[in-house]
């Protein structure tokens, strides 16, 4: 019994209306806080580096908490229980952890006109090769993430009985055109609408749905019962309300590893670098946890769906014999909200996909124009040429994302995003630790990065998923017994890979320092650069992005 569009006319009308409205905003955004020229990466790619506390809060919130998060986290709670709640500790510990690190990154980037994390690595370590590897890792990790935003829109469309790819293609063409036109200003402006709608929908959901289902104790009670049912594929219970002896280590390492990875993603840094000064970032580290609380409530929608399965017929939509777990939240909204409000909720998720997709494509495009185009193709590129290269690259990236979903199984995008998180974590020594120390040798960082990538991909390859019969890339939980330990405990792959990476970096650095290898101590930054702040609100950045990012000379 898949949903029919004829039963969802009201929802569809509201969804389309709101979608068209924000698209109009996306185009109008080019005139918002209008710059003298859009033909500069500081303007197109970073909105002029002038966003204050509020805009940054909406932009970062819209950037980090994506539409995919909103459908996938409750879907995970729906299918496994407590494990899916890792998103809460993950998004709590990220902010105190990033508090001091991000202001350093902001200062050094402001001082030197860096636009991407690879720009910083290029300047700090003087190695174009290392910067290229960091840039490529960033692009590869971001691409499937953009594709996943389409999975979020698709889940909503399915719940309204719309199948087929045409609406997705149309949505992404609109997104691509206004991002090309307005740059980072477009998602910054749309984020206001997106986040307001999301907060509204979730606050209503956590009041109305428990009321209809008979209270929170009923929700947790029925969820516990549903999760204790045996999964025929594994012979074990589907999940539980609490962690068990084997998945606690996975829970903790996944939360910690994901938190370490979050601000290494190029799109997170794009939003951070767009802030106008250090205090803007620090204030946001206190204010962004509001979204984490919201995410915790969103996760619990998974239990509401379990509790509503009997009386309201909430179940994942089945297409072509395959149940799509990501549809569980849209179906829950469809069955328990009046049509008009379900339409608002669907629009919130749909628009929620546009904001991160735009920022991610801008971030990936900047990596291309700064660290590949300018470094290897056109060394004398003017700021205007770089901005144009970025704009075109942002279109290519989005076409790639759509092609992914159209021609390749969306499941592949989900697998790649899982891999992407492990990959991006491997840039930690160069990008994050590099902010604190120049002790590492560039060759050691390259060796560590390559070793971490190899270990991470190798481990992910070995993980099967009994639920869908996949033999490889079936998850990120690695059994310690595979290492030869006598234990059924599991650990997050990315965590192991980054430890290997760090060990290699340290050992190779120590060895290179004892040998006659070139010292490679070029460093374009000085210690004070990490504490530079904007003098007044209107002060122009000291360095334009046009400046060479590395050192002069051969």
């Amino acid at each position: 019994m898949s949903p029919k569009l004829s039963d969802h006319v009201v929802e569809m009308v509201i969804f389309v209306t709101l979608f068209v409205l924000v698209s109009g905003m996306g185009f109008a955004a080019a005139r918002w806080r209008r710059p003298e020229s859009m033909h500069h990466l500081d303007e197109w790619g970073l909105g002029g580096r002038k966003f204050g506390t509020w805009i940054t809060w909406f932009l970062l919130g819209g950037d980090l908490y994506t539409a995919y998060t909103f459908v996938a986290v409750p879907a995970l709670v729906f299918s496994t229980g407590a494990m899916g709640f890792f998103a809460v500790p993950y998004t709590i510990l990220i902010y105190p952890m990033a508090f001091l690190v991000l202001v350093r990154m902001w200062s050094v980037s402001y001082k030197h006109g860096y636009v991407t994390p690879a720009d910083f690595v290029r300047g700090r370590f003087g190695s174009p090769t290392l910067a290229l590897l960091v840039a490529l890792t960033g692009i590869v990790a971001t691409m499937p993430y953009i594709a996943l935003q389409l999975v979020g829109i698709q889940a909503v469309l399915k719940a309204m009985g719309v199948n087929g790819h045409l609406p997705l293609v149309v949505a992404f063409i609109i997104l691509a055109v206004y991002t090309y036109n307005s740059g980072l200003r477009a998602p910054a402006l749309i984020a206001f609408v997106k986040d307001t709608l999301i907060y509204l929908v979730i606050i209503v959901a956590v009041i109305v749905i428990p009321y209809k289902l008979g209270g929170w104790d009923v929700i947790f009670g029925s969820a516990e019962k549903a999760l204790s049912a045996t999964n025929p594929k594994t012979g074990a219970p589907k999940g539980s309300l609490l962690l068990n002896a084997n998945n606690q280590l996975q829970y903790v390492t996944l939360a910690l590893g994901s938190a370490l990875a979050l601000f290494l993603y190029p799109h997170s840094l794009t939003s951070v670098l767009a802030a106008k000064n250090r205090n803007t970032i620090k204030r946001n580290m206190s204010a962004l946890p509001a979204y984490s609380f919201l995410l915790g409530l969103i996760a619990l929608l998974g239990y509401m769906a379990l509790a509503a399965s009997k009386d309201f017929g909430v179940a994942p939509i089945v297409t072509d014999g395959k149940a799509d777990g990501n549809t569980i939240v849209p179906v829950l909204f469809d069955k328990l909200f009046p049509d008009w409000f379900a339409g608002v909720a669907f629009a919130a998720i749909g628009i929620g996909a546009l904001v991160p997709a735009a920022i991610m494509s801008i971030a990936a495009a900047n990596l291309f124009s700064r660290n590949i185009y300018k470094e290897y193709i056109n060394r004398d590129a003017t700021p205007r040429q770089q901005a144009t290269a970025s704009k075109i690259a942002s279109l290519v990236v989005k076409i790639g994302a759509v092609a992914f979903i159209l021609f390749i199984d969306p499941q592949f995008a989900i697998d790649l995003q899982l891999i992407g998180g492990v990959l991006i974590l491997q840039t930690l020594p160069a990008v994050a630790l590099g902010l604190y120390t120049r002790w590492f040798h560039p060759w050691a960082l390259i060796s560590g990065l390559v070793a971490g990538l190899a270990v991470g991909i190798g481990m992910l390859y070995q993980i099967p998923n009994p639920n869908n019969g996949k033999l490889h890339f079936g998850g990120s939980a690695y059994k310690l017994s595979e290492f030869g330990f006598d234990s059924e405990k599991q650990i997050y792959v990315g965590f192991v890979a980054v430890i290997v990476n760090l060990l290699v970096v340290i050992i190779v650095t120590a060895v290179l320092r004892q040998t006659s290898a070139p010292a490679m101590t070029d460093d374009a930054t000085s210690q004070d650069d990490y504490f530079v702040d904007r003098a007044t609100d209107d002060a122009p950045p000291p360095a334009a992005a046009a400046e060479p990012i590395g050192l002069a000379g051969p």
């Binding site: 809460v88 510990l93 902010y95 105190p96 929170w216 309300l241 050192l551």
Partner: protein, 81 residues
């Protein structure tokens, strides 16, 4: 530390023993990083609060620890200039 020979800084900074953002208040940030990772602390059902098992309401309340720690550190280390 080496400096760029082609582009020397205008005036060499005074030698520092500590980074400019070092402060004892920063240690407060350790709390919201470590507490959410201590599963034995919250991996339990009771006490139940408003129908929420401890596992859920406790982790949600950790958000407040994060907000408090970052706010206090921000206020206490603000540059007064």
């Amino acid at each position: 530390m080496t400096s760029d020979p082609t582009n020397p800084p205008p005036s060499p900074p005074p030698a520092r023993t500590r980074a400019a953002d070092a402060s004892p208040w920063n240690w407060l940030l350790v709390l919201p990083i470590v507490i959410p990772l201590l599963t034995p602390l919250y991996n339990r059902k009771t006490p139940i609060f408003l129908g929420f098992p401890a596992f859920y309401w406790m982790q949600l309340s950790f958000v407040l620890i994060g907000v408090a720690a970052t706010s206090i550190v921000y206020q206490m280390t603000k540059r007064r200039d």
